[in-house]
């Protein structure tokens, strides 16, 4: 699989480390959320067959985190964004 990095251009997926569902960005607030919310965040997954937004870390590159939208039925990569931009757009991060 070739991931079209927003800054570096097309890179082999082997340069990346995979973390899973991009919803991991949305960590509940540790001061207010209960055990159930954290359990759901940490362990449960949508695990869709089809378009899946997921986190890839460019470990052997510029060490950026990406949100890659990929079809889990065909491995086709549909969209690549910087995780930073995604998190900011969701009002996380500074």
């Amino acid at each position: 699989m070739i991931i079209n990095h927003p800054i570096l251009g097309p890179r082999d997926a082997q340069e990346f480390v995979y973390l899973g569902d991009a919803n991991l960005i949305n960590r509940p607030d540790g001061m207010t959320a209960g055990i159930e919310a954290f359990h759901d965040y940490l362990y449960n997954r949508d695990n869709p067959a089809g378009a899946h937004r997921e986190l890839w870390y460019h470990e052997q590159g510029d060490r950026s985190w990406l949100v890659v939208t990929r079809n889990t039925l065909t491995h086709e990569i549909l969209k690549v964004e910087l995780a930073r931009d995604v998190a900011k757009a969701q009002g996380r991060s500074k």
Binding site: M1, A13, Q14, V17, Y18, L19, G20, D21, I35, E36, H39, D40, L42, Y43, N44, R45, D46, N47, P48, A49, H52, E54, Y57, E59, R70, T72, L73, T74, H75
Partner: protein
């Protein structure tokens, strides 16, 4: 029709005209007492034991494709019970004991071949860990044996014992481990279930679940609605898809795992060998092909095929362990969809919906578990309480911090 040596001879003398289809192809009834979703190894084993051991009536197995077309037809056929933890080892030893009596039990040749499995040791720390694991196995009634370097050399003289990074120092041996003809397991269970009146309904995909007042009433399928008192789901890689019909999110990710077969070679690997440090394990089939595999590709996938980097990684592992295979050609590779649970251990449990039960999260270790998985799931469906070897396989273990961290990792190793 019972199979026997006499039967084979009689058929040979009469032109093989007496063989009949091994199971019926029934139309679905309007309702059943029990519906098992998934006509793979675990689903068929569940139906078989439900009918045979728990004497339950009106059972159907619904399969979206053909029987045994998923992971039971795609694995590397290894059976073993070399686990460490209390939540696991009694279950897998129960499974191995069922394997040992399986062919007589369901009157079908599954080619159960107990040729021994070794896990290679490369460091003192690993020897300590494997010694502990071996003791854990013995405490639970399994067999385990520590082999010295020379004993491993006597078995497999061609291994690279002086590999600079992973020199071979010994091995943990389980002599009762081995391989089984995987398709025959599905066929044997299917035939045994059919003979006991179970309806095996193929080309019947579950497209929805009818749930009223917190109780399951039946399933919507591509062949219409089918009512049910109880529904058991055993669909491996499709677990999240099917359970989403009941509004459930599971602690499971679906990943692709590849397996490989080389061209046929003369016999030189008698048993099963695992080289954990190099992400490689191998056995040799009766036809001579090396059957081997390694790690999952490492990303969510529902495609039953993987990518080239893992093929390269597995081939490198094989070459590091036994350089002699360098000229062997790879005949086939294929992929299956693993239901990777978050702690690497399975789930056999009720759900919050009355009458709906779940069996999954087998990761890449489901084949060896097939008989016990079927037995324990049938036990849960029939008696509404877990079998004594499967009490730890609960949904709520993640909430309560009771994970079974046999390997210490699930879908994501998080080692980077």
């Amino acid at each position: 029709m019972r199979y026997s040596g006499f039967r084979v001879i009689a058929e040979a003398l009469t032109g093989h005209k007496g063989w009949k289809p091994v199971w019926r192809d029934p139309e679905p009834q309007p309702a059943y007492d029990y519906i098992i979703v998934g006509g793979g190894g675990h689903g068929l084993a569940t139906a078989y034991y439900l009918a045979k051991e728990f004497k339950q009536a009106r059972i159907a197995v619904l399969e979206k494709g053909y029987l045994g077309g998923g992971n039971v037809g795609r694995n590397t056929t290894i059976i073993r019970s070399n686990y460490l933890l209390d939540g696991n080892e009694p279950f897998y030893e129960f499974s191995l004991k069922l394997w040992e009596g399986l062919e007589q039990d369901f009157n079908y040749n599954a080619m159960v071949s107990q040729r021994g499995i070794i896990n290679l040791i490369h460091t003192d720390a690993q020897r300590d860990a494997f010694t502990r694991r071996g003791n854990g196995m013995i405490l639970n009634g399994a067999d385990a044996e520590m082999l010295s370097r020379d004993q491993v050399r006597a078995l497999y003289p061609f291994l690279n014992f002086d590999n600079a990074r992973f020199p071979i120092k010994g091995a943990l041996m389980q002599r009762r481990g081995g391989t089984v003809r995987h398709d025959a397991v599905a066929w044997g269970y299917a035939r045994g279930a059919d003979m006991r009146g179970v309806d095996l309904i193929q080309n019947c995909e579950v497209t929805g679940m009818r749930i009223e007042n917190g109780r399951i009433r039946g399933v919507e399928t591509s062949r219409g609605f089918i009512g049910a008192g109880k529904v058991g789901v055993a669909v491996a890689g499709s677990s999240s898809k099917v359970m989403a019909h009941a509004g459930m999110r599971l602690p499971i990710e679906s990943h692709v795992l590849q397996a490989f077969v080389s061209e046929g070679l003369k016999p030189f690997i008698n048993g099963v060998m695992t080289f954990g440090a190099g992400h490689f394990y191998v056995s040799q089939s009766d036809k001579g092909g090396l059957v081997f595999g390694g790690d999952i590709d490492g990303y969510n996938s529902y495609a039953q095929r993987g990518n080239l980097p893992v093929i390269e990684d597995v081939a490198e592992g094989g070459m590091a362990l036994m350089p002699a295979i360098g000229r062997a050609r790879l005949l086939r590779t294929w992929g299956g969809i693993m239901d990777m649970s978050m702690d690497g251990s399975p789930i056999i449990d009720k759900t919050h919906i009355e009458g709906l039960y779940f069996n999954g999260g087998w990761c890449y270790g489901g084949f060896k578990a097939t008989p016990a998985s079927g037995w324990c799931f049938a036990h849960l469906l029939a008696k509404d309480e877990p079998h004594k070897t499967a009490t730890a396989y609960r949904f709520d273990r993640f909430l309560k911090g009771l994970m079974i961290d046999e390997k210490g990792q699930g879908a994501q190793p998080n080692l980077h």
